[in-house]
């Protein structure tokens, strides 16, 4: 979460709770709602590394709040992040390990493994279709995230099909 928070702070200074709200608003239902403790821990680490700094802002009737802002070093880290390509997804290696190793040890049948996995992926797909229907149409980032997850899942299913054909 470090760089997402840093990116938000490079736009304008904010306190922890504002950052939590911003993340929820931008990414919507498709994003696990970040917990506030996690956000403060991450901000603390960013500050220790010199990427953000904080100032205490006085408030009437309330304890001071800590407002964070992005430093020049932080800006540099952010540039480095956006300018580098992101790692691609990996094959679901745990399932693949089962597929290769289970029959060697005689504890499972490969057809059965693949069939069970397919049904499980389809159930996840059903959840994603539901999630998309429940998500506000105007929240484009949330819909793109869900659609991305669907495309990955479709690829996983196609790959299961390939594994199954290979058993013929």
């Amino acid at each position: 979460m470090r760089l997402q928070l840093l990116a938000l702070l490079s736009k304008e200074p904010a306190h922890g709770y504002e950052l939590k709200q911003a993340l929820e608003q931008i990414f919507g239902t498709a994003y696990p709602s970040p917990n506030i403790g996690q956000i403060y821990v991450t901000l603390g680490r960013l500050e220790k590394d010199g990427l953000v700094r904080s100032v205490d802002v006085e408030q009437s009737n309330r304890p001071n709040k800590k407002v964070y802002y992005c430093t020049a070093e932080g800006r540099e880290a952010l540039d480095e992040w956006v300018d580098s390509a992101t790692e691609g997804p990996r094959v679901r290696d745990e399932f693949f390990m089962k597929l290769v190793l289970a029959p060697m040890t005689g504890i499972a049948d490969r057809m059965t493994l693949i069939n069970r996995q397919r049904r499980h992926y389809l159930a996840i797909m059903r959840d994603l279709v539901e999630l998309a229907q429940q998500t506000d149409q105007d929240n484009r980032p949330a819909h793109l995230l869900i659609e991305g997850a669907m495309l990955h899942l479709q690829a996983d299913l196609d790959w299961l099909e390939r594994c199954q054909e290979d058993l013929l």
């Binding site: 696990p32 049904r119 389809l122 959840d127 995230l145 479709q154 199954q164």
Partner: protein, 247 residues
């Protein structure tokens, strides 16, 4: 037990190409209950399309039996199949097969009229279906003026015009982008909830995920047949597992 909407007994199809017999479907026993939504999946060449075409009487079987609502159908001749389809079966093809010199509206109303519906009823049903598929403003267009995705949605509307006992479909979302697929998913979900029996060949997991049951073919045989169980973690209008948070 109740009479199933459709069932097959040891259904076999062997194509004879260049003198060599090529088995496409090798002994399929499939039972589809009334109101059930069955998705048929499997790699290309596994016999999915051949199977669904035989179920709709669009391809003859080599041996075995096909039963539609408790009546033997594989022994029917072509014209008897045509009557059975008109009365009981809606079919969506991979490549639409719309009538080119008729408007979209007439394409959709035709099966209902042939099936004996009143013109008023046929029109109301057409208006409902085109509206659900976001095609109301295309009603007076000719099929050739539509995109592939639009034609595919018209083909679905046509297949449902008659409120058929069974809807058979061969890759009905193959030509659709994600927005159009969403309209199709919504309509399929809705007619299924209203009791529509659906048997659908699909490669699209979004569509298959809506089904009650998934039948997987490999090399002309059923290798898996069962319900899609709900996942343990349901999305509760909140965070799915869509993205992974890293600290």
């Amino acid at each position: 037990m109740n009479t199933p909407a459709m069932h097959t007994v040891n259904l076999v199809k062997i194509y004879q190409t260049g003198g060599l017999p090529v088995p496409a479907v090798r002994g399929i026993d499939l039972r589809v209950e009334r109101g059930e939504f069955v998705a048929i999946m499997g790699p290309s060449g596994s016999g999915k399309s051949t199977l669904i075409h035989m179920l709709g009487g669009l391809d003859t079987r080599t041996s075995g039996e096909i039963w539609v609502e408790g009546k033997r159908a594989d022994t029917l001749n072509e014209s008897a199949w045509a009557i059975l389809r008109r009365q009981k079966i809606g079919f969506v093809f991979q490549f639409f097969n719309l009538v080119d010199n008729m408007t979209v509206a007439d394409n959709v109303e035709l099966p209902a009229l042939l099936g004996g519906a009143s013109p008023k009823h046929a029109r109301e049903r057409r208006e409902y279906l085109l509206c659900e598929l976001n095609l109301t403003d295309k009603a007076d267009a000719a099929p050739a003026q539509l995109s592939g995705g639009e034609q595919q949605r018209v083909a679905l509307a046509r297949a449902l015009a008659n409120q058929p006992q069974v809807l058979l479909a061969d890759e009905p979302t193959g030509n659709l982008d994600s927005r159009n697929t969403r309209d199709v998913l919504r309509l399929l979900g809705e007619v299924h909830r209203q009791g529509q029996t659906i048997v659908m060949v699909t490669h699209d997991a979004r569509v298959a995920g809506l089904a009650d049951r998934v039948v997987t073919l490999l090399d002309g045989q059923i290798i898996d047949d069962g319900a899609i169980a709900p996942t343990r973690r349901r999305p509760k209008g909140g965070a799915g597992d869509v993205v992974e948070l890293r600290g």
